[in-house]
């Protein structure tokens, strides 16, 4: 199977206090130097010429200047065969997107934009440390549409401290009103290493009550279903036919080639992580031809368990027979006791493929970890 391609642009205007991605405030950073290293990595470790999907993530890929965006997109596409039908996503921040940048994206064949909207309430945007306002989300959305890109995702965050169910439904309604093709609704995670996590540890910030969070999770599904979006993964909702093919590749445990600082690749059954530090990344690429600092290869049951753990995140689930075939084990037999138990607990549906029940979704980690 041909790997998909991911490219990481690790710059943002400011670092959001909840974000644990490999990203840095762009002020004072050597963006050109980084883009040169990225180009060198693409040279030394060439991507497959016909990847099924492309995804530029970050950070904020639209933070660099238009000519810089033009340069890295050109550097990437130069190495690929043109394919207008290929899903090509770029992440963007409503605060830094301009008509000029949208034009650059469109000129390179970008056909999907993922906007980090997060909330339509300015006070929540402030809590989250976002640099944009609610009004700017709508402006950015129009810029994308006007630029001819007709597949748009909005990222939204719920379970933010200080957010109640009504606030969240307001945000959902605003998002629905814009009629994007795709919505990603994430519950806030206090990731270790983030400012939010540190604040919670010190007792300065409190996670939302579990019942409230659960209510938001349930209402999200109901509200969006009625409006025509289907949940196809724990946090992902799409209009018919508009699910994100790139992300589905991750959840099907399919191969991908990642470029840039901190990007991961999963090639020939091996998952490798790039150096996260920008200068060290550039030096590694230059000296070694790659920037891998971690390698992991799973075999047999562990590999199979990972495929199941990822597949169960989606509404399509996983087929045990194909998992078994792929990883060379008798998955039906191996996982039979776990499957039986989870079905008895009402967390897995009966029959193939294995799929979580509505109840299973909200405790997906418990369900997944049963296979690990």
């Amino acid at each position: 199977m041909t790997p998909t391609v991911y490219v990481h642009i690790p710059f943002c205007e400011t670092k959001c206090p909840y974000c644990d991605f490999n990203s840095f405030a762009v002020q004072g950073r050597d963006v050109d130097g980084y883009l040169a290293a990225l180009s060198e990595e693409l040279d030394r470790r060439p991507p497959p010429p016909d990847p099924p999907t492309l995804f530029i993530g970050g950070g904020t890929p639209t933070v660099p200047r238009p000519e810089q965006i033009d340069r890295y997109l050109g550097d990437l596409l130069r190495r690929l065969r043109p394919d207008p039908a290929r899903e090509f996503t770029v992440e963007a921040n409503p605060g830094s997107l301009t008509a000029e940048k949208v034009a650059v994206l469109a000129a390179h064949g970008v056909n999907r934009v993922s906007l980090g909207a997060q909330s339509f309430l300015d006070r929540h945007l402030k809590t989250l440390g976002r640099v944009h306002s609610a009004a700017q989300i709508e402006e950015a959305f129009r810029l994308v549409r006007d630029g001819g890109i007709d597949n748009v995702n909005l990222d939204l965050i719920f379970a933010v401290p200080g957010l109640d169910l009504r606030d969240w439904l307001y945000t959902l309604d605003c998002a629905v009103a814009l009629q994007p093709e795709h919505l990603s609704c994430y519950a806030l995670i206090f990731e270790p290493g983030t400012e939010f996590h540190a604040r919670r540890q010190r007792g300065l910030m409190h996670a939302l009550d579990e019942e409230d969070e659960l209510r938001m999770f349930r209402f999200t599904e109901r509200r969006l279903r009625h409006a025509g979006w289907q949940r196809y993964e724990i946090s992902a909702f799409a209009r018919p036919g508009k699910h994100c093919r790139h992300n589905l590749g991750y959840w099907r445990n399919e191969p991908y080639a990642g470029y840039g600082a901190g990007a991961f690749s999963y090639l020939d059954g091996e998952r490798c992580g790039n150096e996260r530090h920008l200068e060290r990344y550039a030096r590694a690429v230059h000296e070694r031809g790659d920037a891998f600092v971690s390698h992991e290869r799973l075999e047999g049951s562990r590999a199979a368990a990972e495929t199941i753990f990822l597949g169960l995140r989606t509404r399509y689930g996983v087929r045990l027979d194909s998992v078994g075939e792929r990883h060379g084990i008798d998955a039906q037999r191996e996982f039979a006791p776990v499957v039986t138990r989870l079905r008895e607990q009402g967390l897995l549906r009966r029959g193939e493929p294995l799929r979580m029940t509505r109840r299973g979704w909200r405790v997906a980690d418990t369900v997944s970890s049963a296979f690990l």
């Binding site: 806030l188 659960l214 999963y266 992580g273 405790v363 997944s368 690990l372």
Partner: protein, 599 residues
Amino acid sequence: MRLDQFRNFCIIAHIDHGKSTLADRLLLRTGVVTKREFRDQILDVMDLERERGITIKASAAQLPHAGLTLNLIDTPGHVDFSYEVSRSLHACEGALLLVDCAQGVEAQTVANAYMAVEAGLELVPVLNKIDLPGARPDLALEQLQAGLGFSPDEVLRVSAKTGEGVDGVLQAVVERIPPPEGDPDAPVRALLYDASYDDYRGVITYVRVLDGELKKGMRVRFLATGVVREVQEVGIFQPKPKAVATLGAGNVGYVVANIKTLKDVHIGDTLASATDDAAEPVPGFKEPQPLVFCGIYPASTQDIQELRRAIEKLHLNDASFTFHPESSEALGFGFRCGFLGPLHMEIVQERLERESGVEIIQTAPNVTYEVLRTDGQEVRIERPSELPESNYIEEFREPIVRTQMLMPPDAIGALMTLCNERRGKFVKQEYLGPTRVILTYDLPLAEIVVDFYDLLKSATRGYGTMDYELVGFQASDLVRLRILVSGTEVDALSVIHHREDAQRRGREVIMALRKTIPRQMFDIALQAAIGGKVLARETIKALRKNVTAKCYGGDVSRKRKLLEKQKEGKKRMRHVGNVAIPQEAFLAVLDRREERKKK
């Protein structure tokens, strides 16, 4: 050798009062060890003993002095080994009563002194550590006078550390301690006062010869067990074992007699000639009775064989603890172990973990109970699950220990409150001068098993000491406190408890469980009950939401590892019905300190 050539004596002292240092000093002074060999605490052989500053296994040393043979018999230092102490005392005619004059008289000093007087020993009081700047010999002297009736001029003063006054000690041993009595020409009779196990030679028994003589090749009978063996070797301690041709009346030494395990010998037994049917046993022999029991389980179920090997090995060296395989629904396979007392329990556990490397889970300890059934039958109960249904119980008895606590007078109030909380019955209060009080209570052993000593220490800011002896079994209003998790009784958590206190205890256990059992996919009901009557209940609410919102390319490995880690933790849990209980829950139940802090 004539009987009047011997002086047999021991040193009795409270922990850390310098017993081993004095013993070593005596060895050095009499030339048994050279200065080069001299190192601290030669008589203590085990690391663990040295760390804890106590002697577990009695040993002996022969000291030549002024043309005489002085046998120094080392006694175990702790209360749980009081029977062993009493047997060692019976091998002596006298004892040095050693008191650290910076610390003064302590609970064990008093208890051991009483025991020595009861055994008919001549006591020589010795004040140690007179060289210390904080020494208060006057206070210690006053306590010896007031508490034990010594006159000031019979008290010796030494510094075992510097050697000052040690000659006076040797002189007192010769002059004040009477030589042994016995008949060298009578048929042989010897008191077995201790034993140890040697990997190569099997059991080595330590004996005091009362009459006649022991020699290689003779056949001896152990009167209590009836076992007959041929003597392979007799010897003395210098302090290393040294074979000799004969061991005569009045002397102390060892016998090797082809005994494979310590189970075959009993401390306090009498050795006699195999052909002497009329031999009289030395009085006072008792089968050691374990008083405290707990379950010991491997933390990982697959370590059961390793744990078994470790227990068997340890048992070779310490036959005074007992073990039987048992299985618990919650903990799987393990062992029910019996101990002489709480300290003995602690020592055995520590040695097990240290010497085997197997991590163990210990269940809540319980004491031995006696139950008189309605059919007139008396049974001993070693674990809560053996208890008959309440309507078959005529009388339920628990062991009572007379507990002596020594402390500064300002701690009396706190100690009395503690003893009353623990169902103690006041016996008496005596002053040993203005700075020391002995408080005597009869307490249920069950009440002092877990944490009493720690509480005593904190109530007296570290100055209090205690000692206790079993006085018997008394009827008490005891119940089996059942702990149920989702309706299933967890055998490893159920305990026998006094009815009045059962509700509080039940609540403590339930709260400890609530804190340690993680939320699961369903509500978990925790109950403490007597019979069918629920005393306390709590619910652990079902896990409602547990989902990672984001999982993309770079997250996959990290998220999977996080989940694997959770899963690993879960694997180590024990299952009761469908509820997973972590090991900490079993330990949390033991630790009552946290609950108390809140009070």
